[in-house]
Symmetry: C2
């Protein structure tokens, strides 16, 4: 992963952050810490989706409370302590459903938004 700081200005569709986080964890397949998740989303979206830390950490908390991710303190690649998150089986199920729902809504939105 490129070493690049998080940007200041957030861009994001409200209501999709938790899905993005879960999907990131699913796709990478390994536990990630919050900061790494934000970087991952930023990079894979080519700098378009920017997650604010003040949005990110509360979202991770919510996900943990809901039992969709499990958190564990460990050491990061750079030698700092960091909280690593991994999907639970409930989280894995959830992300599948959410992505399906999202794609359905997207398709519908495109029907309204795009020129026939």
């Amino acid at each position: 992963m490129t070493k690049e700081a998080l940007s200041k200005k957030a861009v994001l569709l409200p209501g999709t952050l938790e899905m993005l986080i879960l999907r990131s964890l699913e796709r990478t397949g390994e536990p990630m810490h919050g900061y790494g998740i934000a970087l991952y989303i930023k990079q894979i979206s080519k700098e378009v989706l920017l997650v604010e830390e003040g949005s990110l950490y509360p979202a991770l908390q919510r996900l943990a409370i809901k039992g969709l991710v499990k958190a564990e303190w460990s050491e990061s690649e750079t030698g700092r302590k960091a909280r690593f998150y991994k999907l639970t089986s409930a989280g894995r199920k959830q992300v599948t459903e959410e992505v399906a729902g999202f794609e359905k809504i997207l398709e519908a939105m495109l029907r309204v938004v795009q020129p026939a």
Copy 2:
């Protein structure tokens, strides 16, 4: 309790309602009243996007305050009085920009969400 010609339960991506309204007005090309806009969105999205009246009318107010639409009382196709909205030139400009931005974000989201 139930008065269901319009919606059963609302489904909508938060933050996109105003754009949907503006785009509907743009695409139909003629002034529409609120109820008609909601029906239009419902139909064109094939019953996927459902706009609640309690979301719709405040959104129309906001759009009018921002000068993106202009409202005028008139008579509906069915002979009732209704408030017809049409795009202003500012609104026309706005919807173009918003749709472009939205499509950019969508594309980015798909890069995160969809399997490579």
